[in-house]
């Protein structure tokens, strides 16, 4: 469980990125953190594995205060996948790249091999095993980065902007994949602007703006509140927009799921 208590954080440049953030993320939860550029989303998740320590307030990961634990210790449980894969790839082969974290955490050769095989299989990277990560496409590099974190099987997986630069097919697969990770009992935390993607996954949504949390609740409730969504510089999902426009016909305005929408329209037309 991750718990932050009234966390404040200011960068050396004087930018005050977090201003009193208190939030609790339970084991096995599926959470999307959303908000405008500079809202403090990335700053917040960097507190989850101790990369940043709160200037005021406390952060606890499974009861451990992050101020008293090293980044390596915390990362064992909280795996952070950065936005840009190019900021972490450095090995000669995809295989070595995926084993880097495992070796840092001191796993034995046998376990490393097993975990690497498992992660490569999971992300459909088998055929690139012996290739240089630098020769892969953008989407594939992102998958290598993801595999390199999932390999040590952290309890919490944090993904920073996983959908940027991905085509629709890749997004679809990613959405399935994240839900699968969550279904297996892992806590999944997404940081994203992509409201359609979030609407499809329908997790708990934490909305941030200017270093504060302005809303926290189920996706269906938060994403259909146009006032809140606008405050975080986002636009409500298209399907919700459509249903809001159809409000005169007596259709509900809080729809984010396409299948639910289809059923409602069918009922309306048929009945």
């Amino acid at each position: 469980m991750i718990r932050t208590e009234n966390v404040y954080f200011t960068y050396p440049s004087g930018v005050s990125a977090l201003q009193g953030v208190s939030v609790e993320i339970g084991d096995g939860e599926f959470v999307a953190i959303m908000g405008e550029n500079g809202a403090g989303k990335t700053t917040l998740i960097k507190h989850f594995n101790g990369l940043l320590k709160p200037e005021r307030g406390e952060v606890f990961v499974d009861g451990r205060n992050t101020k008293e634990s090293s980044v390596a210790e915390l990362s064992r449980d909280v795996g952070l996948v950065f936005q840009n894969a190019d900021h972490q790839l450095f090995c000669e082969t995809v295989e070595e790249e995926v084993s880097f974290g495992l070796r840092n955490f001191g796993f034995g050769d046998k376990v490393v091999k097993k975990r690497v095989d498992w992660a490569l299989e999971l992300l459909d990277l088998r055929r690139y095993q012996k290739r240089s990560p630098f020769m892969l496409s953008g989407g594939e590099r992102k998958r290598v980065a993801l595999a390199s974190v999932l390999a040590w099987n952290p309890k919490v997986v944090v993904l920073d902007e996983p959908t940027t630069g991905q085509d629709h097919g890749q997004k679809e697969r990613l959405s399935q994949f994240v839900r699968q990770l969550n279904a297996q009992g892992r806590t999944v935390i997404l940081v994203t602007h992509d409201i359609e993607f979030v609407a499809e996954c329908s997790p708990r949504v934490i909305l941030m703006s200017r270093g504060r949390i302005i809303a926290d609740g189920p996706a269906k409730e938060i994403l259909t509140n146009s006032k809140l969504v606008t405050e975080a510089s986002l636009i409500v999902p298209q399907i919700t927009q459509l249903f809001m426009m159809l409000g005169d016909l007596g259709l509900p305005g809080d729809v984010i799921d396409i299948y639910e929408a289809k059923r409602l329209i069918n009922d309306f037309v048929g009945g």
């Binding site: 990362s75 950065f82 900021h87 450095f90 880097f100 390199s148």
Partner: protein
């Protein structure tokens, strides 16, 4: 890093900022020359004091002090080296002369750092590029130079992100033996270099698509012009330089000695 911070341009307005970059460069070079010319304590103190006025005039005292603080280690090294060598050559006796000379040398270094710190703090990379261009440097050189200066903060940010990403994968830079520690920097250096190369290629393409080098003679939106204030500054510097050379050659400089206890 701190020392470099004190060399980074600060965008404020002051009479010093408005001075022509070429004139400012002449001023810095003159101070450098004066610093090298004298080894006595008195003129060096005078020179450093005059720098203080210049810094105050340019309103960059905070950053300037930072660059000095960053160079303190080197100042200490220079002081101690002079002191030890002097001590040894004076027959292993610490004399007032040796002490005074060591202090002068340390002070001289501070003066040199200070003069160029003022120059870089008050001259924007753009102005610097323009000045190089006007001084008939090939444009490719001045462009490369200003681009390099401009990308320093970008690179520093990127390095921080890479360090964060690798620490999140369990990398502990400070752990292990000496050799292991050096090896620990590979996961940081490789992405940094690869990204820098990739960015430079992208930059080259962006420049080509905006017709870089299409015409031999470029025109600029902003043109450097020497103003009255620049002439005055230049005149003052030349007079000071001339007088100093005269003093150096023909006037006996009163000796201040640091007394021994």
């Amino acid at each position: 890093m701190k020392a470099l911070e004190g060399m980074r341009f600060k965008r404020t307005s002051s009479p010093m900022h408005r001075l022509d970059p070429r004139v400012k460069f002449v001023v810095s070079c003159a101070v450098f020359l004066l610093g090298v010319m004298f080894t006595e304590l008195l003129p060096l103190i005078v020179l450093l004091t005059s720098q203080l006025f210049l810094v105050y005039f340019a309103r960059v005292h905070k950053e300037w002090l930072q660059s000095l603080r960053g160079s303190l280690v080197l100042v200490a090294v220079i002081f101690l080296t002079n002191l030890i060598v002097g001590y040894a050559s004076a027959g292993f006796r610490l004399t007032s002369n040796v002490l005074t000379y060591s202090v002068s040398m340390a002070l001289r270094f501070v003066t040199l750092v200070a003069s160029f710190s003022v120059f870089f703090l008050t001259t924007s990379p753009d102005d610097l590029g323009l000045a190089l261009e006007r001084s008939h440097f090939p444009y490719e050189f001045s462009f490369a130079f200003t681009t390099a200066v401009r990308f320093v903060p970008v690179l520093a940010d990127e390095a921080q992100t890479i360090i964060d990403a690798q620490r999140s994968r369990g990398l502990e830079v400070e752990k292990g033996s000496f050799v292991k520690r050096i090896r620990n920097y590979l996961p940081i250096l490789i992405p940094l270099i690869v990204n820098a190369i990739r960015r430079s290629l992208e930059l080259a393409e962006a420049m080509e698509s905006r017709a870089f080098g299409a015409k031999k003679h470029r025109t600029n939106l902003f043109v450097l012009k020497i103003k009255a204030a620049d002439y005055i500054a230049l005149a003052v510097v030349l007079v000071v330089l001339a007088v100093s050379i005269y003093i150096r050659l023909y006037v006996h400089i009163p000796v201040i000695a640091i007394p021994m206890f």
